[in-house]
Symmetry: D2
Subunit: 334 residues, 4 copies
C-alpha cells in the first residue's frame, strides 16, 4: 500500500499517521519528493482500511499494490486450471460446448434437446430447474422435478448436467448435478458462495451485471477459500447505457481474465444479447478471442418455450455454429 | 401489450401470429396504418413472453402497456403507506432518521453511539452484525453476538433496531430485530425475498447497484406477494462510469418512486458516496427532494472502526446535520 | 508518478526502465519492498506517457500523483472564483438563477418569458438560438435571428443573456452575448474550447454525458490555458443504465468540484431529467448540496414550444421554486 | 407514434389531446382496451414532440414506431453500401485493413510504418495529424505538416490515407486525404457533420463513448442529408463502469448495425482497449462477428511514440494478426 500525502502536510500530522500505520503492524518508508510525500507500507497491509486512510485530511490518495485475491491469482499459480466433468475438459486448450434449453419443461423436451445438442457436438447439457425471475408472477421452474428430468436426460445421453442453484437450502437436491451454476444475480450472495465452497464439485460462476473483474475474482476467492478450487468463470454481459441488446457482452474480459487468473473462462452469448440472431456472431467472436467454452441456449420449439424462447437457437442452427466454432479455434490455435 | 409489425409483413405471417396470440388467451385488435400494422392485445398478457414475440422475423417491436408490479403500484393503492416502527413512523410526511455504525463492534461502542445518535434526534439505530464483504478475508461481522449487542443498545435507549440479514438460514436469529435490511447485493436474491415475505415485520429493501426502478419494485413485489406489505425502499447509489465517488447517488429516483409506488423511500448517503465529507451535502439534498428518511453511518471513533470508517460521521457532525435536515423539511413542507 | 514493478522482475530489465525514465528528464527513487519494487519519479513527469509505461511487461501498475489540471486547481488558487455578469454574481456564496425557454421562438415569446422570470427573481435569461439536435430533421433554432431577439429581451428587462454556441464560425455573432454556453456534446470539442479561451467573457461549460470530473476540469483548463479564466461549470446529468429519466443527475459532483476547483458550479435540472415535474425536487436538492446557481427551462406555453416543452416549468411554478430555493440556501448558509 | 393513456382518463381530457394531435397534422385512431386506451397516430409524426406528449398528466407513455433515420436505413435501401477508396473496397464482403501510427511524427517514421503495414496486407494507412487530447498540455499533433507527411507516405506506398479532422476550419487542408475521420468526441459536433456532408469523399464516423446505436445512425444521417453517402461506421468502445480496459468494446453492435443500416461497419480494437496485448484477441473477435474492416495502431518503436505507444502493435505482430484475420474471415464466409 502506498499513501500519497497532500502538498504542505505538517510534519506533526504526518508523523501521527505514520505512528498509526505502524500500530497496524506494518513498516513505513517515507519518500520525500518535491511536490509530494509518499509513504510506502512494507508488510501485511490486508487489515488496513484503505478507504479510511484515503479519507484523512492530509491524504491525497492511497494506492493498493498487492491484489486482494490469492487462490485464483495466476501470479501464485501460473499453470492453467483444467476442470474435468465426465469426459469433458475445460481450460488450457480444452474447449467445452454447453447447450440446452433455458428451462427444463418436461421429459420429452429435455431428452430431445439433449440428444440433438449431443449430436451437434455439445459435451454438456444445461437446463434450468430453479429459475431466477424478476417477477414473482413468472414461471419459476420445475424445481426438484426439473432436476429429476435432467438426470433422465443425462442417463439417456451421457452428457454431464449444468444447472443453477438459487439458495443454500436447495443444495442437497444438487448432489447428482455435475456442475452447479451460480447465476449473475447471486455472484455476491456470499452465504451461497461459502456453502458451495464446502463442496468438491465444479462451480460455474457467472459475472454479475455490474460487477468488476476484481469482484468476480473475489467471489471465486470466496469459493476457493472454502477449499473448492474447481471454478469455471463465465462472462454473460454487463449493464450499460446501451439499449439495443439486453446486456453488453464484454469480450475483452476473456483475455484479461486469462492474464489475471488460472481459472477457465467461458462465455454465454444467449443471455448477454437476449436475441437468437445475435448468438451466432457473438459465439464466434468469443471463440476467436480465446474463450474456453460456450454456454448456449438451444430449444427445439422456441415459440412454445416457457422461458427465454427469444434467445434460443434451433438445433440445426446450433449444429452449424458448433462446426464453425471448431474451425475458428483451429485458426487461433496455430 | 402492443405488437408493431414490420413494414410489408405478409398477411399469412401476420395471421399466424394473431392465431398464436389468441391461443395464449388474449383478444387481438388490428390497426392498419400507412407504414405499419399495430396489434393491440386485450386481456391478461402476463403469460406472454414479450422477448419471444419481439424476436420474431415479422415483428418490429413490442410495447408492454401494463406495469408488471401490482401490490406496490400506486395506481391500485393511491394512499401512501406509513410504516410504524416502535414510536417512529415512516412515510406520508413522517420522516425517519436511522443512524449508527457500519458494524457492531462491542457493547461500549454500540451503546455509546446509540445514545449519541438518539440525543441528536435519530429515531432508529442501525448497525451491521452480518456484513456482506467483497473479500472472504475481511471482517465478516460479529453475527449472532452482534445481534445480541444491538438488543442491549435497544434496551438502553429505546431505539428500534435495523440490521441486515444475508441468508435465509440466519432469519430465526432476527426475531427481535425491528426492521430487517436486505442489502443491495441481495436485492435479487429471490429466495431471501420470498422468505421475508412470510414475515410480518418491516423490511428495508436497498436498491441494487445496477438495478432499474422497475426491478426494485419487482423485488418489493416478491415480498408483498408473500403477504408482507411493510417495505421501506432505499436508494444507495448506482454503479456508473464515474470514479470519484464510490457510487452515483441517484436522487431523482425519490420523486419518481413516489409517483410509481405508495411505499416510503429513504436515502443512504453514506454507502453511496463512501466519504464522510460528502454525506452532509447529499443528506441535505435527499431531504430537499422529498425523501422519507435517511440512514447514515455514525461512529464515535472512525479511525478505529472495523469497517467503513471513511464514510462515518462523528456524532457532533450528525447532530448539526439532523438539525439542518429538519429545517429543510420545513421549507419543502410549506 | 509512481511505477510499481511486477514481483520477480529481473534487475537488468528494471535498470533498463530506470535508464529510460531518466532520459525523459526525471529522477528515479527506488524503494524495494518484500513483495514489490516501487519507482518514484521526481521532477516534471508531464511528458511521460503513463499508459505506455503501464503496458510494459515488467510493470504492474502506474500511479499518477500530481493533477494534470493547473489553472482551475484549487490547490494553486484556494480562493473561490466569483464571476460577475451585469449585476449578477456567481460563486463564493453568490447564487445565480438563470431561466428561460429552451429555444427562442419569436419576440413576444422571449420578451414575455424574460419579464416573467425576472419578476420571479431570475437574474439571467437563457434561450437557445443555435440548437444541437440529434436529428438533422428537427428544428435547429432561429440562429442569428434568435440572437437578435435575445438582445431585444435583454434591452427590455436588463437581464444578461446566456446562449449556446455550436461552432467556431458562429462566434463573431456572439459579441453581445453575456455568457457563452458550451453544450454537453461539445465539452471535448477542443477547437471550440481553444477559441473561447481567446475571449474575455464568461463561459458556461456543461459536463458531457459520459465525462468524468477530471475531463470536465481538463476542458476548463483548455479555456483557461488560453487566458480566459471566467468559467462556470455545469452539471446536467450523465448517461447510465437508468432509463426512467433522460439522464442521471449526479449531484455529488457539486461538493466534489468545490473541493477540486475554485470555479463556480451550477446545476441544470431541466435537461438532466427531461420532465417538468422532476425539475422542482432536483432544483431544491441542488441548492441543498451547495450549487452556486441553477439554469432552468421556463416556458409560458409548453404545449406549443418548438423544443423541449416536456421539461419546461410554467412561470408560476418557477416563481414558487425560486422562493423555496432561496429558503433552502438560508438553511445551509447558517 | 402510439400514445397510451392512463387508466381512468376523463373523456374530456382525452378529446382535448386528440384535437391537439390532429392539429399537428396527423390522424388519430382510438383503441379502447379494458385497462387502457391507446391512440394510434397515422401520418407524418416527425414534427410532434414525443417527450412533450409523454409529460402530459393523462399520458402513461408514448411509443415511437417509425425510425427517425431514413437515408442510412436498410429498410429503404436493402443493398449493402460498398465504399471504394483507391483500390480498396469496404462493405458487402470486402474487408479493409487500416493500419498506422497514432500520430504522424516525422517522414522516416510514417513512411517506414506505411511500408511495413502494406507488406503485411494493410490496404489503407492511418495516422493522426490533428490530435484530440484531453489535456491542452499534451502533444496536439503536427497538424498541416502531418498531413504533408501522410501524402509523402501515400506517394511512396500507394496506400490511401485516413486521418482525423477536428474542426470545420481545417477542412480545406484535407483535400488530398482519401478518408476523413470524425472522432468519437466529435460524433455529435453537428456543425462538423454538416460540413463533411457537403463533401463527396468517404467519412469514417466513430461512435461516441456514450452514444447509442440510434444516435450513431442519426449522426450518419446528418452527413447523408447533406448529400454525402460514403460513410464508414466505426465501433471503438463505450464507457461503462468497467475499469480494467480503457473502454468496453461493444462487438454486438456489428451485427446489430448490419441489420439496421446498409453502411459498412469497422472496429477499432486499439482505442477501445488501450493495451497492445488485447488488440489481437479483440481484432480476431471483430472479424469473427462480421466486421467489414479493422483500424489498428501499429508503431515500429512504441517506446518512443509521441502518443498512445501503449496500444500500438509492432509491425511483426500486425503481420501475424492480418494473416489470422484473413483465415477467420474464410471460416465465416462459408
Amino acid at each position: 500500500m502506498i499513501v500519497i500525502l497532500k502538498h504542505n502536510t505538517k510534519e506533526e500530522k504526518r508523523n501521527q499517521l505514520i505512528d498509526w500505520l505502524k500500530k497496524q503492524g506494518v513498516d513505513v518508508h517515507v519518500s520525500q519528493g518535491e511536490y509530494q510525500t509518499v509513504l510506502g507500507m512494507i508488510g501485511d497491509t490486508s487489515k488496513i482500511d484503505k478507504d479510511l486512510v484515503a479519507s484523512l485530511e492530509i491524504v491525497d490518495s492511497v494506492k493498493v499494490v498487492t491484489d486482494p485475491f490469492k487462490c485464483c491469482n495466476r501470479k501464485f499459480h501460473p499453470e492453467d486450471t483444467v476442470i474435468q466433468v465426465g469426459d469433458a475438459k475445460i481450460g488450457s486448450g480444452s474447449f467445452c460446448m454447453i447447450a440446452g434449453p433455458c428451462s427444463v419443461e418436461n421429459e420429452e423436451q429435455i431428452v430431445g434437446i439433449a440428444k440433438a445438442v449431443k449430436a451437434s457436438g455439445a459435451n454438456m447439457l444445461r437446463g434450468g430447474a430453479f429459475k431466477p425471475r424478476t417477477s414473482p408472477y413468472d414461471f419459476q421452474g420445475l424445481k426438484a422435478t426439473g432436476l429429476e428430468l435432467l438426470k433422465i436426460a443425462k442417463a439417456e445421453t451421457g452428457l454431464p448436467i449444468v444447472t443453477e442453484v438459487m439458495g443454500v437450502n436447495d443444495l442437497p437436491l444438487f448432489e447428482d448435478v455435475d456442475v452447479i451454476q451460480i447465476g449473475a444475480r447471486n455472484m455476491q450472495n456470499f452465504d451461497l458462495l461459502r456453502e458451495v465452497g464446502k463442496l468438491r464439485k465444479p462451480i460455474l460462476l457467472k459475472r454479475g451485471l455490474a460487477n468488476t473483474v476484481k469482484e468476480l475474482l473475489m467471489s471465486a476467492e470466496y469459493i476457493m477459500a472454502g477449499g473448492n478450487d474447481q471454478i469455471i468463470l463465465c462472462e454473460r454481459g454487463i449493464r450499460t447505457f446501451d439499449d439495443y441488446t439486453r446486456n453488453t457482452l464484454d469480450l475483452a474480459v476473456v483475455p484479461v481474465l486469462h492474464e489475471l487468473t488460472h481459472l477457465p473462462v467461458i462465455v454465454d452469448p444467449s443471455h448477454a444479447t437476449g436475441v437468437a440472431k445475435l448468438v451466432r456472431p457473438m459465439a464466434l467472436a468469443a471463440a476467436a478471442c480465446g474463450a474456453d467454452g460456450l454456454i448456449i441456449e438451444v430449444h427445439n420449439d422456441p415459440m412454445h418455450a416457457l422461458c427465454d424462447g427469444a434467445q434460443s437457437l434451433l438445433p440445426e442452427d446450433y449444429h452449424k455454429l458448433a462446426r464453425d466454432v471448431e474451425q475458428i479455434r483451429e485458426v487461433i490455435a496455430k
